[in-house]
């Protein structure tokens, strides 16, 4: 599926992002904020200052009976872990793949290295497949690493604060296997579609806002009035979003010509 020439491009693109301190910092800091900083704050507030959370009682009252299994604090933590954190988590693959794809597609154009690549013995489709793979691999690596870090931090905090651990629910499995890959592909598709017109990486990265905004709205919605998402719907949503991304990507690749890419 991937030939050795494409593998060389994937390796080069990954190395490019890893060796760029600015981009690497962005790739590390943002996920850390979502997976370490936010849950730590939540857990510590709920453990040590539950009175500071104004609508904690309201949230509790809105939860269905079967979710109110333990004491108030455990119920809230479980709700945060399985209903709020996954939403924050979907932002990670979007941001990671936006940074990576913008560097890989538009960054090459900006630095005038794309033209050199266009004289290589790869079809435009093969070249773009390689670049999509590079963005996808980095995005998923960041996402999965973030999950592992988050799990370690959250479980350690729970053990420290409450003396017991709360394991993540089924929704996390579908988030990790279906939703995050689909979100990542969608973000890459948005960047790829705009790559012929975009002249700078910043222009290009801004396109991912179109994906982040709806998620932010859902997060706000979770705090205002709860939207409980059935884990199986997540699986379906992941599959549908993935299919849309794949179709859009295929359409974008067909439209690419050397001339459009070289236009400055």
């Amino acid at each position: 599926m991937i030939n050795s020439k494409q593998a060389a491009i994937i390796k080069k693109d990954i190395f490019a992002i890893v060796s760029n301190k600015q981009l690497l910092t962005a790739l590390i800091i943002v996920p850390l904020v979502f997976t370490v900083f936010f849950p730590t704050i939540f857990i510590l507030i709920i453990r040590f200052a539950p009175d500071q959370v104004n609508n904690i009682e309201q949230i509790l009252n809105m939860l269905p009976e079967d979710m109110r299994t333990g004491d108030m604090q455990t119920t809230i933590i479980a709700f945060l872990l399985d209903n709020i954190m996954p939403l924050f988590f979907t932002i990670i693959p979007i941001l990671a793949s936006s940074i990576m794809a913008a560097s890989s597609f538009v960054g090459e154009k900006e630095k005038r290295t794309l033209e050199t690549l266009l004289y290589s013995p790869l079809t435009l489709t093969q070249m773009f497949q390689a670049k999509v793979w590079a963005s996808f691999v980095i995005s998923m690596a960041v996402t999965y690493a973030s999950f592992v870090i988050m799990l370690i931090v959250v479980e350690a905090l729970l053990l420290f604060a409450f003396g017991n651990m709360i394991l993540p629910g089924l929704s996390w499995l579908f988030i990790l296997l279906a939703v995050t890959p689909a979100m990542s592909l969608l973000a890459i598709t948005l960047i790829v579609r705009g790559s012929a017109k975009a002249q700078t990486m910043e222009d290009s990265q801004q396109r991912s806002v179109f994906l982040v905004l709806p998620i932010m709205l859902v997060i706000v919605g979770q705090f205002m009035g709860i939207v409980l998402i059935n884990p199986w719907y997540l699986l379906i949503a992941g599959a549908v979003l993935g299919a849309i991304a794949a179709l859009l990507m295929r359409g974008s690749m067909k439209k690419f010509t050397y001339e459009a890419l070289l236009k400055r």
């Binding site: 020439k5 266009l118 790869l122 001339e259 070289l262």
Partner: protein, 296 residues
């Protein structure tokens, strides 16, 4: 064997600019062809047309019997391209850049390394091979780009202003390399430049282009035949230096005899043929404004 054949090849960009107009050209294997003209004449567009990175508006072209428009990737496997805008990666070392492009062209890691080190040595970049490209001077970058264009041993090289930014010594070593490739390895060179003196040192045939039109092509002698003036004879006597225009060198002995018979002493006699630059400007003035073509 003709390796490039174009017939009435034209390119009009979206904005309406006609960059190349009715280019008809053939190039033989192992030729060093100088495509000469001022900046903006259409040289780079011609290179892009011949490599399939811009689409032609009318006409046709084949390079090594491949249509660049339909199978650009096949052509790129056997062609090397150096253009001003085709840059390499600043964050990588010179050697790593070459190894990367070697891999992209399908060379094994071992082949890439052997080839890259050989080219770095030949282009006097060996000592800088482990330095990042961002630390390279303009001339070093240009030489590394040349090495990159040759990493996969192409059958044809498209060099757009290859000596831009190079010092005189580097120009000499690049010239030696290009001549060697053409003469000993049969590589065809399509060299675009506006530096006419440089082109005269290295090319065996020329195409002169301005405003998208190739208005003359042929060997230097053939191009000289298109302009009047012939050979200039310089005769240094005890009183003066005489510059006399002759159509043919057979006229020289009679001139010398006449000076001697008139009592003059001759210290030296030399002949000077019009340079490529002289021919270029003579042709430019001759063709303009009608912009018809001239072919030798």
């Amino acid at each position: 064997m003709n390796v490039i054949i174009t017939e009435n090849l034209s390119k009009t960009y979206d904005g309406g600019k006609e960059a190349v107009k009715n280019l008809t050209l053939t190039l033989e294997q192992g030729e060093v062809f100088g495509f000469l003209g001022p900046n903006g004449a259409g040289k780079t567009t011609a290179v892009k047309l011949l490599n399939g990175t811009v689409s032609h508006t009318t006409g046709s072209c084949r390079v090594f019997d491949i249509d660049p428009m339909t199978k650009p990737e096949e052509l790129h496997q056997i062609s090397g391209v150096l253009t001003e805008h085709a840059q390499m990666y600043d964050h990588m070392t010179g050697l790593d850049n070459l190894l990367f492009f070697g891999a992209v062209f399908g060379l094994s890691a071992g082949e890439s390394k052997t080839r890259a080190l050989g080219l770095l040595e030949e282009l006097e970049l060996f000592d800088a091979k482990d330095k990042r490209l961002s630390t390279y001077s303009t001339g070093m970058r240009q030489r590394l780009s040349l090495a990159r264009a040759m990493i996969h041993k192409p059958k044809i090289l498209f060099l757009d202003e290859p000596t831009s930014g190079l010092d005189p010594e580097s120009i000499l070593s690049v010239n030696r390399m290009i001549k060697n490739l053409a003469e000993n390895e049969g590589v065809t060179i399509f060299l675009c430049t506006h530096q006419l003196r440089y082109a005269q040192e290295i090319c065996c045939r020329y195409g002169l282009i301005d405003d998208g039109i190739m208005f003359a092509n042929g060997t230097l002698d053939e191009l000289r035949g298109l302009v009047s003036g012939g050979t200039t004879v310089k005769i240094k006597t005890d009183t003066d230096i005489h510059e006399i225009q002759v159509e043919d060198e057979s006229e020289i002995p009679a001139i010398v005899k006449r000076i001697v018979n008139e009592g003059g002493n001759i210290y030296s006699v030399s002949t000077e043929k019009p340079s490529l630059e002289d021919v270029y400007f003579a042709l430019t003035n001759k063709i303009d404004p009608a912009r018809g073509g001239a072919s030798a």
